[in-house]
Amino acid sequence: MMEIPYTVEARPDTGVYNAKLGIWLFLASEVMLFGALFSSYVLLRTGAAPGTWHHGREFLNVPLATLNTIILIGSSVTMVMSWASLKMNDFKKFRLYMGLTFLAGVGFLIVKGFEYGHKFEAGLFPKSNTFLAIYFTLTGLHGLHVIGGMIVNGYFWGPGARMWKTQPERFANRIEVAGLYWHFVDLVWIFLFPTLYLL
């Protein structure tokens, strides 16, 4: 069977294992995706007729979003600790930290679900005004990214963890790559939180 090259050792011309360059190229495209929407938000807001723009504060729950910020930043720490645990040969700690990361994702989505639920109950939908349209687009897309990350993290916590027994370094690299994605999702939220909820 043919082996996939450079899953562990660095490729001589790039100096990194292939998956790392791959995830960074993917994250570069993600920057453009979120960047385009963010740029649209700026355009819609600065282009709105004076006095017609609805501010996030009128509708959004700042304490709940602060809680979600804390949850997501916390999950970034547990994620990087899960990778560090593998690097220190401690599989049990990896399971613990990865499990916590997954649960933080669940927590984030539950809080977000409450927030969306309250909006819908109050009759606030994407069609209600331009702010809510861009709010639901940005937070919805971000939420989908959280779900995507949880699927990957859940796989590595569960069945995917088998690889640790046969190819430990390759598995640690997989966790590093999953972590890079997860931290990016955290990073996007760090910008969404103040720009949507506070300004």
Binding site: V31, G35, V42, G47, I73, M88
Partner: protein, 101 residues
């Protein structure tokens, strides 16, 4: 994994905890500052400055960008250039509108 590797990772984990505490403090600061009712331009500036600092900490420490290979920096440099262009699109649009009048 060699013993010296394990020791350096252990040191890194201390940095992770330090960054976590810093990020928590900055999150609380962001929320607190938003209650000051500053002029819009200043509020945007302060919020984005804090968010950028938080983002850099995540990128540098959690995403290991403080010690990464050149190829990754080149990818990111290209990303930053295109991102800046994207952020200028709103201003260009307004400039365009004004000139067409």
């Amino acid at each position: 994994m060699s013993a010296s590797d394990t020791e350096s990772i252990r040191k890194q984990t201390r940095a992770y905890v330090g960054v976590f505490v810093t990020l928590m403090v900055l999150t609380i600061l962001t929320v607190a500052v938003s209650y000051f009712h500053m002029p819009v331009a200043l509020a945007v500036l302060v919020a984005l400055a804090i968010a950028s600092f938080k983002g850099s900490l995540v990128a540098a420490v959690f995403m290991h960008l403080s010690h990464e290979r050149k190829v990754i920096y080149w990818v990111l440099l290209l990303t930053v250039v295109f991102f800046i262009v994207l952020m200028f699109v709103p201003s260009l649009t307004e400039w365009d509108q004004r000139n067409i009048g």
